[in-house]
């Protein structure tokens, strides 16, 4: 039971980051690796703020805003100009990779390369029957679930959410109905930046962080996207939970060092048997 709970908690944070990735990928088709840089940078911002102010109530919103702004800068400075030039997706990806490197190296130059922690002192522990859940895990679970839920409700219920889905579905038709594509692109980057910042904060609070955690996290998130299905917003959530549960089982039954092997093994199996992901819908492709 404990393993399942641990898996659920880590799955929720993978799912959150996967959703952040998908929030950019579906509407804009930009493979936003720079999200890993944002994921790495936000906890450092939070750490500095926490040292300066001492309160989470100020720190958390400002850190999320910082991540969100970074994401907007990436769109305005890199991805939108490339889009206007009609750049291929590979060019977007390489540029995003470049942005990731710039952010991470800047972070490392400012705050150093050493691991850090956002938590002060020992963690509280609560018992639910035989299951032990630490305070940090509660924060992680509640934070991630709330953010995922809020975003999914936003997508389903609000006008802005509807437009984001429409942009993901058929950008040309969306523009023809008189909506400004660039504005909604900006919205999708803002949402992604905010979600990734929340994911970064909860996992940094739970597990600690350093300047290079981002890429591994985003890698897992994209694996979750592919497993779940890359054509929907629900897919990444399902994929993230599956991945989290699986990884905790691996830790329990085998060893932590096999986590990567099993994760990418699952990716391979899904790609062979369900090339469009578990929830993906088949599209009218020219071939294969």
């Amino acid at each position: 039971m404990q393993i399942w709970v641990n898996g659920l908690i880590s799955g929720a944070s993978i799912a959150l980051l996967a959703l952040a990735f998908q929030a950019v990928y579906l509407p804009t088709r930009v493979f936003f690796i720079a999200l890993a840089g944002i994921y790495a940078a936000v906890p450092f911002v939070a750490l500095s703020l926490l040292d300066a102010t001492g309160t989470w109530w100020l720190t958390a919103p400002v850190a999320v805003m910082a991540g969100l702004s970074l994401s907007l800068v990436a769109e305005r400075a890199i991805h939108l100009p490339l889009e206007k030039k009609g750049a291929a997706s590979g060019a977007q990806l390489i540029a995003s990779l470049g942005a990731y490197i710039v952010i991470v190296q800047a972070v490392a130059m400012i705050w150093g390369n050493d691991p850090k922690s956002l938590r002060r002192g020992l963690d509280s522990v609560s018992h639910l029957g035989s299951v032990i859940v630490t305070g940090a895990q509660w924060v992680s679970l509640i934070g991630a679930t709330a953010a995922i839920g809020a975003f999914l409700i936003f997508l389903r219920r609000s006008d802005l959410g509807l437009r984001l889905r429409a942009l993901a579905d058929n950008p040309l038709q969306f523009a023809l109905y008189g909506h400004n594509v660039h504005r909604y692109r900006l919205l999708s980057f803002a949402v992604a930046g905010a979600l990734a910042s929340i994911a970064a904060l909860v996992s940094a609070y739970d597990l600690g962080f350093d300047a290079h955690t981002g890429l591994h996290a985003i890698l897992l998130a994209v694996v979750a996207v592919i497993i779940g299905g890359r054509s929907t917003f629900i897919g990444p959530v399902v994929g993230g939970l599956i991945l989290g549960l699986l990884r905790s089982q691996v830790v329990w039954h085998m060893s932590a060092r096999w986590q990567e092997a099993v994760s990418f093994g699952l990716l391979a199996v899904v790609l062979i048997l369900f090339p469009h992901g578990l929830l993906g819908r088949r599209q009218r492709l020219e071939a294969e």
Binding site: P81, K85, S89, A95, G98, Q105, G112, V223, E260, L267
Partner: protein, 299 residues
């Protein structure tokens, strides 16, 4: 003088890396981030065989090439089904797998190179032999520079022959329009397996050269940062032709030398160097997607 010779060896290593990666990225049009993994596989193969079994350069490298080429199936099979961004991601996953294998395959109570402690994990392998050819060990810096240059020249010859052949032509056809190439009966799946195997085999040579030159090896040479560095070398130099990799390797060797004038602390300098590579990638994509000396734009 010795320092210059040292730079020549580095240039040779980078050149082999860039030439081999250019085969995949430039000629076949498949953006991969797993190259550092195969580089490290070659380096580890040489290190283990030379430290444990006292093998010479040629046989040890031969084994490295074979292992690396065999492992390249992990990427080439992915390229069968995945296109574009998702293939890049899959190659990244392969990279992560190779790194975690090199990092985790150790145990403190078993000797280095045994089945339970193949790589010595994060502690790395020390005291790797200098390259030895037919019993003669290459010791002096000038001999090492000459030897590395000869190896690089051989690799360049191989790449030049391949890219100028009808095989290279089919490769370009696949890059231009894979569906059209398949419509002409070209087995592009086989082609992908071949090009990844050749490219991974070549980069294994570069890895072995590196291990024998630095004489110490740990899993950091298989990190993603290394792969990104390799990719930036090819992208900056120019993809899809023969002279791009030369330009890319020269820039990569030259840049740290320029940064030396800033006299930053070591750790900061390393970060700054990477930062500049990242910046170069962004600027390249904006202003010259085909690279400094390239012809074909990244897709």
């Amino acid at each position: 003088m010795n320092y210059l010779l040292h730079l020549i060896v580095y240039f040779d290593i980078y050149l082999i890396v860039a030439l081999s990666l250019n085969l995949v990225v430039g000629y076949a049009g498949l953006l991969t981030l797993a190259h550092a993994g195969y580089y490290a596989v070659g380096a580890y193969a040489y290190a283990l065989l030379s430290v444990n079994l006292d093998w010479g350069f040629v046989p040890a490298v031969a084994v490295g090439i074979l292992v690396s080429a065999a492992l390249s199936l992990a990427v080439s099979l992915c390229s069968w089904r995945l296109k574009g961004d998702f293939f890049v991601l899959a190659s990244l996953a392969v990279q992560a797998l190779i790194f975690s294998a090199l990092y985790n395959w150790h145990s403190v109570d078993a000797p280095l190179g045994s089945l339970r402690n193949l790589t010595n994990g994060p502690f790395g392998i020390v005291g790797i032999h200098r390259p030895s050819l037919f019993g003669y060990s290459i010791v002096s810096p000038i001999a090492m520079a000459a030897f590395a240059s000869v190896v690089a020249a051989l690799c360049a010859l191989v790449v030049w022959r391949l890219s100028d052949s009808s095989w290279g032509r089919v490769l370009v056809a696949m890059r231009e329009d894979e569906l059209a190439a398949r419509g002409l009966g070209k087995n592009t799946r086989l082609l992908k397996v071949q090009v990844f195997a050749i490219s991974s085999g070549l980069v294994a040579i570069a890895g072995a050269l590196y291990a024998s030159h630095v004489r110490y090896l740990d899993p950091t040479s298989a990190t993603l940062d290394e792969s990104i560095l390799m990719l930036s070398m090819v992208v900056v130099g120019g993809v899809g032709n023969f002279r791009g990799p030369f330009v890319g390797a020269a820039i990569l060797v030259g840049l740290p030398e320029l940064l030396r004038f800033l006299s930053l602390p070591d750790a900061q300098a390393a970060n700054l160097r990477m930062l500049i590579y990242g910046l170069m990638l962004i600027l390249m994509m904006h202003f010259r997607p085909q690279g400094v000396a390239g012809e074909y734009r990244v897709e």
